[in-house]
Symmetry: C2
Subunit: 339 residues, 2 copies
C-alpha cells in the first residue's frame, strides 16, 4: 500500500496537515520541521495521491485529445505536437479515437470520462457545420480543423484557403498552366477539401485562368489509395494537365505513385504538391513539395487557449485563430536542385 500524508506525519511526528503544508510549499513551516518531514517523505517514498488532490481541487492536470485515428499520419503528428505542448505546461494527454464516427464523436463530448480531464481538444471529422450547436461538454473545448466554424467554443485552424492558394500559385509560378486537383469532395464548401479547392480557384482567378472541372478528381476519403484511384481516374478520362495539387500529402503520394507507374516524370512532366508537411514527405522519391500548415503552432495555441478557458470559462467570447503556413518546395515541383 502506498504511503499517505498520515503515514508521513506519523513518522515525522507532526500533524498530517503540516506534511501537506510542506508539500505545497506553504510559508510558515519551520526549517527543522520541514527537514523532518522531508526526511520522512524520502524514507517512505511518499507520492501524493493525485486522484485525491483532483477531487479536492476540482482539476486533474490532464486534458483529452479526441481525434479520428492515430494511424493516419496527420493525426499522429498532430498528437505528437499536442502532447509536447501540453507537457510544457505540466499537462498530460489522454487520447480518444473516434474513428471519424459521428456517434463516437458525440459520445466523447457526453462521456463522464471527459471529466477525468480539465478540457478537450477536439478534432472532429464526422460532425459538420450543421452540428455546431452540439459542440459542448462539461469541460472547456478547443476545436481543431475545418469542419465546424462559429460554434460557441474556441477554434484553431489553418489558413486553408490562403495556403491552398499559395500552393497553387507556387505551381503557376513554375510555369504550369493546367493544374489538376486530387481529392476534392463533391459539393463541399467548408471542410478541408472545400476550403482548399476555393484557394485553388482563387489562385486561378488571380491569374485569369479558367476553372476546368475536367481536371478535378473527386474522392470520398483522404487515404493513400484514394489519391492513386483519383489519378487513375484522371488518366483514364484522358485529362491533360502539367501539375497536380493533392489536397493533402497522402493523396499526393498516391497520385505520384500512379503517375510514375504510367511513365510520367515528376516534376518534369507533371509537378505535384501536397498539403500538411508530413514528416514522410521528406523521404519519398521524389521528395514531396507541400504546405506546412503550422502544426506546432496549432498545438501550442490550442493548449494555451484551453488553459485560459479552464482558468476562466466565461471570461471571453469564443475565439477563432488561424495559424501561419509556409509553402515547402521540394523535388516534386522544383526537381532535385533544392532537395
Amino acid at each position: 500500500m502506498a504511503a499517505t500524508l498520515h503515514d508521513v506525519a506519523r513518522m515525522a511526528g507532526v500533524s498530517f496537515k503540516t506534511v501537506s503544508n510542506v508539500i505545497n510549499n506553504h510559508p510558515h513551516v519551520r526549517d527543522t520541521t520541514r527537514a523532518k518531514v522531508e526526511k520522512a517523505i524520502a524514507e517512505l517514498g511518499y507520492r501524493p495521491n493525485l486522484t485525491a488532490r483532483s477531487l479536492r481541487s476540482g482539476h486533474t492536470g490532464a486534458i483529452t485529445l479526441a481525434l479520428p485515428q492515430l494511424s493516419l499520419p496527420y493525426f499522429a503528428e498532430l498528437a505528437d505536437a499536442v502532447i509536447e505542448a501540453a507537457a510544457k505546461h505540466g499537462l498530460v494527454v489522454l487520447i480518444e479515437q473516434t474513428g471519424a464516427d459521428r456517434k463516437r464523436e458525440l459520445e466523447v463530448m457526453a462521456s463522464p470520462r471527459l471529466k477525468m480531464s480539465d478540457g478537450l481538444i477536439f478534432s472532429p471529422l464526422a460532425l459538420g457545420q450543421e452540428d455546431a450547436d452540439l459542440i459542448k461538454a462539461d469541460v472547456p473545448i478547443v476545436l481543431l480543423g475545418e469542419r465546424i466554424f462559429g460554434s460557441s467554443s474556441d477554434h484553431v485552424t489553418m489558413q486553408n484557403v490562403t495556403a491552398a492558394r499559395a500552393a497553387t500559385e507556387h505551381l503557376l509560378d513554375l510555369g504550369k498552366k493546367r493544374i489538376a486537383v486530387v481529392g476534392a469532395h463533391e459539393g463541399e464548401v467548408i471542410g478541408s477539401a472545400g476550403l482548399r479547392l476555393r484557394g485553388y480557384r482563387e489562385a486561378l482567378e488571380g491569374r485569369g485562368i479558367p476553372y476546368d472541372d475536367g481536371i478535378i478528381a473527386y474522392v470520398v476519403d483522404w487515404h493513400r489509395s484514394n489519391g492513386a484511384a483519383a489519378m487513375h481516374d484522371l488518366l483514364d478520362r484522358g485529362a491533360s494537365f502539367d501539375a497536380v495539387f493533392g489536397l493533402n500529402d497522402t493523396l499526393a503520394q498516391g497520385a505520384v505513385r500512379v503517375l510514375q507507374e504510367a511513365g510520367y516524370r515528376v516534376p518534369d512532366d507533371v509537378a505535384v504538391i501536397g498539403f500538411d508537411d508530413l514528416d514522410e514527405t521528406r523521404y519519398t522519391l521524389p521528395t514531396l513539395s507541400t504546405v506546412d500548415p503550422g502544426r506546432t503552432e496549432i498545438a501550442e495555441t490550442a493548449i494555451r487557449m484551453l488553459m485560459e478557458r479552464i482558468k476562466d470559462p466565461d471570461g471571453m467570447p469564443p475565439r477563432e485563430v488561424e495559424t501561419a503556413f509556409r509553402v515547402v518546395p521540394r523535388e516534386s515541383t522544383v526537381g532535385a536542385a533544392i532537395a
Copy 2:
C-alpha cells in the same frame, strides 16, 4: 456546477445512497424508486464524478502508454492498436512521449502522475538490458519491445529472430544469393537490430550461405534518412548484392529510394523486404514486402496481461509472450503480379 448524488437525491426525495444504488444497479431497489431516481438523473443531467469514484474505489479506468514518439509511424500504429484494445475493455489511454530519452523513460515510471492510471504499458527505447532492475512503478507494468528481457514485469514482444529468419528465407526462396542488411546496430545482441540480425544469420546458416560483413550496413537510428544513408554507403563501397533486408520498414523505404535513384530496378535487380508492416508500405512504389509482427495481437495481449495483473498483482510470475508473425510478400520482392 455539475449535479451530484446529493442533488439527485434531493430532487427524487430519497437518500443519496439510494441514488448510488440505482446507478450501480444494486439489487433491492424498488421499481418505483428506481423510476423516480432515474427521472431526476435525466432531469439534472447527472453524471457520476469519476475522480471521486476513483478515490473511493482505488482504480481509475485509465492506463498509461509510454512510448518514444507518435510521429514515428511504428509507434503511432502501436498506439492506435493499444487504444482500440483498451477501449474494448472500457479503458481509456493516457499517452506519455519519452522521446527515447533515458531520463524521461525513468521519470515516467517514477512520476506520481502514473497513479492517475491503473497500469503502464511501456515501450522503452533508451533503457536497455542493464536496466532490467529499474523497471518498476507504483502500478503494474507490461513491457513491450526488444530492449529488456527477464525483468520482473510481464513482457510482450514479437518473434524477432524467427520472423527475421522467415523474411530472409523469403528472399532466399526467390533465388537471391547475396542479401544485404540495412540497419544493423554495431555490437548489439538483443534489441530489435540484434535479434533480427541473428534471424538473418540463422537463415543463411540454414542454407549453408556464408555470412559476409561486407554487405551489412550499420546505422545509429532507424529513421528514413538512415536507410538512405546506409544504402548510399553500401553502393559507395561497391558492395554486390541482389537483395536487401531492411531491419524495419522505414529503413527499407529509404534504401529503396536510393536504389531507384541509382538506377536499380526493385525487385528485378534488387529485391527489398522490410519489417513492421506499416500501413504506408502498401502504398509506396513499389509496395514494400514486409513482416507483419502482429501489432494487434501485441496490443490486445498487453491489455489483457495488464488487466490480469491489475486484478491480482502478485498472482503469477512475470510472463513473456511472443506474438505470431506473418511474412507479407509485395511488389518489392515478388513484382507487380501479387500487388
